[in-house]
Amino acid sequence: MGTKLTMADMSGSHDQLLFVFSGEVVEVCGPERTGKTELLYHLLCRCVLPKSAGGLEVDVMFVDTDYSLDMFRLVSIIDSRLTRALSPSAGSDEEVLRSCLSRLLVVHCSSSSQLLLTLHFLENSFSSRPGLALLLIDSISAFYWLDRCEGGASFSKQEEKLSKCSELLGRLLRDYRITVFATCHAIRRIHSGLSSSSFSSSDSDRPYLCRSWQHLVTHRLLCSRQASTAGGSKEQRMRQIFTVHCSSSTGTKAHRISSFHVTDGGVDFT
């Protein structure tokens, strides 16, 4: 397949944050309210929109483990992108919206065993729908505490289910050439005062999920919110700037940073 997905395409910006090839896994992590789910919506739109509106017209599978998919927000983003790209009187908007939404498949999981069984079940979908190129998991860390408690005292038992999921994902990546984006919630508070220029490899948001998952991850996007500047107009303070810091395990070790803010039409890269 080899479809290249880039994050900064929609804004026409030349500064590309990330090139992702099929068969790779991207982990989007960060504390709450830093725009992780918004980034997933941005990616979703890029994939399901028709080619005439700048999309890729591929199918997307969304695995929702913590009921955080807000369909109304997603539809408003798709709507605003469609009206921006196509002329307002181009045919029936409902039809285009429906065809975009039919490229999206949503699955809800309520425990890590159900996640494992569902991934096995989805193998059928991957083999029967060759247009299914992207798997989004929001979030992979939803069952972390439940698993830790169930596993008792031994770490290997605690991490068993997520390890099995990671191994299965690895196999699905190889066999079906899909790309995986997964969000991971932070469990430790990042102390304010860390400026983005002083990022080192031992930043306070260390990965905490099991080793099999960490080996699978190719790129890691660390999201954070910039502290709002004192002064400035009320408008400026309302527009929170979010930054994304990308580190990859392949290629160069250089870090890349990009920033965006959230508008009614979704993520807008600056």
Partner: protein, 346 residues
């Protein structure tokens, strides 16, 4: 983990379960993850039979993908927005509490969280004529306060009693009883609380931090796991039965000294919308008299700040009066008119 038992599906009999257990395959997950050809040889069972059993078990226990278009249609028809009864709060919440979601109200002691919960319960029960489940974990629920609020809405005693009957109260004082209560409600489809043929539209838990906070901290992870379970059952209830879940939380101070909701980072991902309530600081000087400060502490004005929302820009702030729900209808309409004028002026 689902343990394999005879009779779970056609083709899975006692002998097969025993053979599988001998080959160290005890749960559905083990069966689904292992190599079937190898297993068939080890247990001397036919590959076809194993494959059929695996397919049925997988279909029984995994979740099914739904097309985005169908999901959107379903949400459009089933999601309702419940007004809280207070127009300033409704403005913050983008016209009210959405069903299928968890909304969190956090604030310090005396900031009015329970009063807002009472107001919402009364409004949903009296104006929207829907049932409400109120889970009280602090012992702060008083029916007389609700009656007071209802008496300003309607003077008909029958209507007041009917509205009170639509609010079902559960008193739980530790996390295990809370989980028991919520799981029990889910398993019988919220029938317990559906009085008079109405359906439950709101579930209020006041407060969730009172039962979870004592378990957090320390070396044991059970507290975090129990918190995840409470979150899980509330979300399932909200999504499956189309109710709006409203929970309250306490506040702590962050390292930079500002107020933030409690229960830590792991809880912060769970509510879809979060509101922080604070007392309003009237501009009192340091040399204020005792009478002035007493006035401030008895004031019913509060400010609500939106700190997390997927629909509105964050950090918008509204001021409102806790006594809104106790005002008579005339006072409310004049208050609304004044508010609309203020909004159009600014």
């Amino acid at each position: 983990m689902v343990v394999l038992r005879a009779g779970m599906c056609p083709g899975l009999d006692e002998d097969l379960v025993r053979d599988l257990r001998a080959a160290d395959v005890k749960t559905v997950e083990d069966l689904v993850s292992c190599n079937l050809e190898e297993l068939a040889q080890r247990c001397s069972v036919s590959y076809k039979a194993l494959f059929a059993v695996r397919r049925v078990l997988l279909a029984q226990h995994s979740a099914f993908p739904v097309s985005g278009a169908d999901l959107y249609e379903e949400l459009l028809s089933s999601t309702a927005i419940l007004s809280t009864g207070n127009p300033s709060l409704d403005k913050l919440l983008d016209s009210g509490l959405y069903t299928g979601e968890i909304t969190e109200l956090s604030g310090g002691p005396g900031s009015g969280k329970s009063q807002v919960c009472f107001g919402v319960a009364v409004h949903v029960s009296q104006q929207l004529k829907q049932n409400v489940i109120y889970v009280d974990t602090t012992g702060g629920f008083t029916a007389s306060r609700l009656l007071q609020m209802l008496q300003t809405e309607t003077s008909d005693k029958e209507e007041q009693m009917a509205a009170l009957q639509r609010i079902r109260v559960f008193r739980v004082f530790d996390v295990f009883s809370l989980l028991d209560c919520l799981f029990g409600l889910c398993s019988d489809g919220l029938q317990q609380a559906s009085v008079g043929g109405g359906s439950v539209k709101a579930v209020i838990v006041d407060s969730v931090s009172a039962v979870v906070a004592p378990l957090l901290g320390g070396k044991h992870n059970e507290g975090m796991s129990l918190m995840s379970q409470v979150a899980g059952v509330l979300r399932t209830m909200a999504k499956d039965f189309n109710v709006a879940a409203l929970v309250t939380n306490y506040v702590t101070r962050s390292s930079s000294g500002e107020l933030q909701p409690g229960l830590g980072v792991s809880w912060s991902h769970i509510p879809r919308t979060r509101i922080l309530l604070e007392r309003l600081e009237e501009g009192t000087t340091a040399a204020s008299s005792a009478a002035a400060t007493a006035d401030v502490s008895r004031s019913s004005l509060r400010s609500a700040t939106l700190i997390k929302s997927s629909r509105q820009p964050c950090l918008i702030r509204e001021e409102f009066d806790l006594q809104w729900w106790s005002r008579s209808k005339d006072q409310k309409t004049s208050g609304l008119k004044r508010k609309r004028e203020e909004d159009s002026d600014s």
